[in-house]
Symmetry: D2
Subunit: 362 residues, 4 copies
């Protein structure tokens, strides 16, 4: 595949060898966002992009925005071929469809970043309960690393299989980790009220996602039963060294990209807003993509198209509650951006490589 | 004022006398929605509509939608004149501006429905704290009735001054009242995560409400400090016969009309979703505008343009939390619709008079 | 079927007998809008509403907005049964599916208002060319009346089969008829640039209508080949007494309801904007639903949810062009509203019966 | 000013010297988009950004998206200081405000790219007529080059003052130039129906641009009197070597970014769609930012955030009309992107330098 390289257009060429990367499931929103980001990455070279239903179609026919891929076509999904064509492979398939593909790629000694849910839960018993299928590669499950770089940077650096977090868990864990890991949260369940744009639901055809249906629409869904719940609780439990329960309510709002989690934590001891903010800034001092803002509410508009997460903290002294807002782009830090960040860590490249563009204003 | 009457257009005329009603502050969104609803009301006749900045302008110049008012102009605000022209007066003015106007109308023995905040809080000491001004008619404050018909129907029927609830408190109180009045809520603070369309912020010019700023924007504001908080706590306290604390976080979402409150209540004893829903249906069996839905999440889209409130309830047994969703149209049940409902009660008319249109699909 | 009647809710009962009406294809946007409008109509009583795919489902399950139909279910489509249950039947089926159904209803001596395209073109040869099927009831075609009330009021009054115009033709013909019927248009083709919200495309599932696809999207479609073209030319030809050619380009804009046609006509003789506006006001002096505005551009927002059409006219003296803007609600005057207006005319009722509500502000 | 350079984040440093650039009027949408693009430009270094009303404020306080400018503040506008700090200066001021500023910068021998209207019209007599002020630097007017690179590449390369085209003229001229310069357009006026998102109106506070006002809103404005008209006619006249008249109707659609022009041209001789497309492709074969698409309608969604223009052509043989659609991002190719393209040409750099990112999907 020959996407137009930046160096041809006047930049100084980076003469270091590029790594061959593949994208499996490249025609969904997450896959396409991967193509967009990787096309501008100075060390990665996309050598194959598969899309079963769109196999044979021009990439720019499906996404005219992806101009660097002019003339390039989606390939059919054949893991063996992909394993020959690429050294690192991103897998962006629906839940349950990754397991076998990833298994084959791993056996071919490829590094894999899986953007689906199949390798995120360490306890295989959680799959039947939350996903209604039995995991068929429990051994791989043990080898997979949960790819939240801000909290597992070193594990990721040496991983061969990274399970890229879900969009909700990313925003929520980044928002909660400082307070949970420092044992500041009381035993009461943590309340998480999250709001997402529609692109988070994927590029699936659904009557209820049509514009006239979504127009002036705003609703919660899967209250208390969303599949990201065990993922959130697993990671919070590791940070807290104890079982943590959350009440998690996702909502769909009439926008395309963007995710905001508003999180309510009962604090174990009094803290001021300024004090809590200071703590968050210390924790994330070395995290290039996390920004603890001055105000109380983060806004996904401000991180749209980027790999950044904005976090606002407020302490309400009357009720000793912390209200934490955490905003990401569900396709950026919530999916493809974070996957590229993981690639950078796995390859020993600077963490921000290819991910440092400012966001789109307006 | 001579809006076109329905009877001229082929309906059988209702020959009973109409009551003369006035609208003060009729050019804002709430005032205009009042005009819309009252123009279709079989027993009310709008005799005066004031709008200080737009005084002298044609109503249809500002709102071409309000065709029944063709040829009619906004008047200047002179309480004495209005008191002569109308028997019941709706006041839709910004916070702090109602007090004097309402005082004068009351002295002229008019009935008043105030849609602002000036008469909602019974304790005058709350005004300096939350609104930063001292209430100048504390005596009137004692005479005002909080106009949430589902919970104060009889008081309203005999009131001369009704304080129409705020949009957030309406959705939240309707959602919480059953569980709070039945003493089912534990002592823990109740978490209220509310989302509103932009029309709730009024027809004020504000850079941050321009379309390119609101586009793909989603954020919380006034976390823990919104002025509707004391109003919510006052009414919950009355229902519970004890002090009730809430954590209230409003958000702005990129839509025009519609408000959804997602409410998290720790229950004192185990309940099932079905059991809680049954309780809600009992409580609201005689409330024509409240609908307890089968699913978990209400959606403001389904009550847009109406005076209805849709409520969904879910109990999460793992954490013994109830998650209640409550949806209204912020300009309908959250403002003008509820004011007309209050008018109906005050006049002894059927509660649904003029308010029974279905909502707009799509 | 027993939708809640307005009289129960405090209005004076209209004791004149109601006419039994049926809606075939009631689950699409047009059908649902018919239900909404007819539920508030003082002389019509909906006795049957069919929806093949949704047969058996509660109407309020599909459209929670349609509260007057609580407890009522969609029926399966059986023309014979419908003919027994209703005296006037609205048919809202996809192109090609009406022909047989309407034929059977007509043989059962029912009056029919067909909202599809099957009876709009008088020349059967146009169907193979524009719709790619041969018309199977050419005799019925000759008996059908084109239901644009402002221009065919008398024919409609005595019709048994009314072909309700398409949404684009409605806005365009109302905008063009004065200038074309008065022979003011030069021979040059008339340029029509029309923009529509998504609900005009019906309630069909389509990837390209999903919110993330439509978001910030704006495009023309079927340039020069849209099926409404022969309908527009047929009617303009009748008005002009000569063949009239149009260049018609429809666009989809990211909104739900609303249609604006911007029309460019080369004038045969110099006219001023004021003069042309005066002419339009004369022509539409007795049309209750057409409003010739003072400014140059109509806006569908101002007629949303109504049966109204707003028209703005401008003459550009430099080029002797008239620029006419014509705005409707595609589901209102562009479909269901106009169908109810036709019902009123067919039954000898006042033209505005049940159609005189103001539009929703904001 | 020290925006974070890409080279620090892992890219190979470009060791060639950077050119110092300044942005005057950097807090509007166009100015902010310039900051965004220039921060990622390998040869430009922003050394000053002024914003009179926001002088002293952090850039990221106004635009949190502009992370490369963290810690940097807007300066006050003092042309002398700017002239010392930068070698090339972008001026993004409201109409009429550029003239004096540009004059001073030119006297200081700086190169200037003016994004306003003050230097676009070569005939000073047009300013009183269309802008209602007399031009005070007519000499400079003669020296300014109209910055549409696809048609004036060489002039721009040697220019010291470039007048960056307006957003509408950019889309329209790119769409019309092939047919006009090849003398294919008949004498009849060319009809231009253009639609723009709200960001094109700038970051000004305006009640009618508030979300609830723009919601489901769609209207034409300044029909036949928009100030971009003389600019379009000036350039078309140069291409055609004769006076060309256009009928230009801009519309506002409820979106943030994006502009689509639908253009109707009467052809002088029969042509096929394929033939016309071939012609367009020949004409733009060497234009890296213009893409002649296969289909009939371009869509601004596909070029959002980029400097590209997509053009679709259709010939309607029945009426011998060409319907040309031309789509740009009003802030990209319609303003800031094109200004950077002009910078590249003026400096002798590759035309696409810093402008080759793919667009945002979804």
């Amino acid at each position: 595949m020959q996407q137009r390289s930046r160096s041809e257009t006047g930049r100084v060429a980076d003469l270091r060898p590029r790594v061959r990367v593949g994208v499996i499931g490249a025609s969904g929103y997450t896959g396409a966002e991967l193509l967009r980001l990787l096309s501008d990455h100075p060390r990665a070279e996309i050598t194959v992009a598969t899309a079963d239903r769109s196999a044979g179609r021009l990439i720019t026919e499906v996404y005219p925005q992806l101009t660097p891929f002019e003339g390039v076509r989606f390939a059919a999904l054949d893991p063996r071929t992909v394993a020959r064509q690429a050294d690192v492979i991103f897998v962006a398939l629906p839940p349950g469809e990754s397991t076998a593909v990833v298994g084959r790629l791993m056996r071919a000694s490829r590094r894999v970043i899986d953007l689906g849910a199949d390798f995120r839960l360490h306890d295989p018993r959680l799959y039947p309960r939350w996903y209604h299928w039995r995991h068929r590669q429990p051994a791989l499950l043990r080898r997979s690393v949960y790819g939240l770089p801000e909290w597992h940077r070193e594990e990721i650096a040496s991983a061969r299989l990274v399970a890229n977090p879900g969009c909700y868990p990313t925003a929520i864990l980044l928002g909660l980790a400082p307070v949970v890991s420092r044992k500041l949260a009381a035993q009461a369940p943590i309340i998480i009220d999250a709001k997402s744009g529609l692109s988070g639901a994927g590029r699936s055809v659904n009557l209820s996602f049509q514009l006239p249906e979504m127009h002036e629409s705003l609703e919660a869904y899967l209250i208390g039963t969303h599949r990201h719940t065990p993922e959130i609780e697993q990671e919070l439990g590791r940070l807290a060294d104890r079982r943590v329960s959350v009440v998690f309510t996702p909502h769909l709002v009439p926008m395309s990209r963007g995710l905001l989690a508003t999180i309510y934590v009962q604090l174990r001891r009094p803290l001021t807003t300024a004090g809590l903010r200071r703590l968050y800034r210390e924790v994330y001092a070395t995290a290039p993509f996390v920004r603890v803002i001055d105000g109380g509410s983060a806004n996904p508009k401000h991180v749209r198209g980027t790999n950044r997460c904005a976090i606002g903290v407020t302490v309400l002294p009357r009720t000793r509650q912390a209200v934490i807002t955490s905003a990401i782009d569900n396709l950026g830090k919530g999916a493809a951006g974070q996957a590229v960040q993981n690639l950078n860590l796995m390859m020993g490249w600077p963490e921000t490589l290819g991910l440092d563009q400012p966001g789109l204003i307006a």
